[in-house]
Symmetry: D2
Subunit: 101 residues, 4 copies
């Protein structure tokens, strides 16, 4: 089962600068070889369910290893059985409609 | 690694009544033997990371099997390394503070 | 327009105990006179759109006033135009189906 | 109070193609003159709290007007009192750290 998620990892209790932790998470995704795209309030990730969620677990582990004792993430999870749809497909579908007018 | 999540599974394109799908998800959680508590806009689930996320995957599979071709879930994920904290602990901690005044 | 939301306010950089901040938010909801129900990972709130979102803003303001310089909340927002549905309706609909078997 | 949100509007019960509704939402944001950036699973929006949440309400109204009787959105909400931080600031902060290694 393919899945597309949007993940935002929030370390709690480690100060207001969280970019160090977000960076650790980006490296986990790179090492996992998963297609992913960071934006200003999270990261899109797509792939096979088990690989994606293994990476999510590693993100939590990596952020804890950096010293954050508490993490509160939020995530969207999209699955569909009718067809494959990549991150680019979704964006291009809306961009095409915006141009129509 | 223990985890507490809050999961809301939203089947897309199957009509406006989604209780049948939510019910299927509740049965998955019961069968998994995981501590869980449904509320009006999601379900709290706690347990070991791998068991909890196996159940989340089964929820998506069960809802697809009922005929939903597209699902868009949202989830909160909480982990902490300093101490165990159950769902009841979290609620009681706030309720105690509310009574103090 | 009626709305039902599920709100989880996460103060960042203030330590790992966040119950003081969650409590402040509960008081805001009580003072606003909005129907609400806390659970272990957020709070269900229902009412007219403008009243509900005024309360959400006050929650953020109250948590900042307590000393949190950064907040990262997550929220689900449900609206429907076909009929009114309360928090209890949603839960009872699933509970009835669970009993059918 | 400045706010940065990440919004994902999910129309329920209108079929599996939701790009028409997402497009309507993008137009609302353009008309509102708010800084925003769409990604594959939502849209980052930043601005003054009241303006941003007025736009969110208009998004729900616009999607209902297109025929969706039920909507279930998910949103992240970030506020901070220590300093201004734009969407670009957040991304550049992580990108700089990724290059350091």
């Amino acid at each position: 089962m393919k899945v597309m998620i949007d993940l935002c990892v929030v370390p709690v209790g480690v100060g207001t600068s969280v970019s160090e932790y977000v960076t650790a998470c980006q490296r986990v995704l790179q090492d996992a070889g998963l297609a992913h795209q960071m934006h200003a309030y999270g990261t899109n990730i797509e792939g096979e369910w088990d690989e994606v969620f293994t990476a999510v677990k590693r993100c939590h582990e990596a952020v804890h290893e950096l010293g954050a004792v508490r993490i509160s993430s939020s995530m969207r999870i999209g699955t569909r059985t009718d067809r494959d749809q990549t991150m680019d497909d979704k964006i291009n579908s809306v961009k095409a409609k915006l141009k129509e007018e």
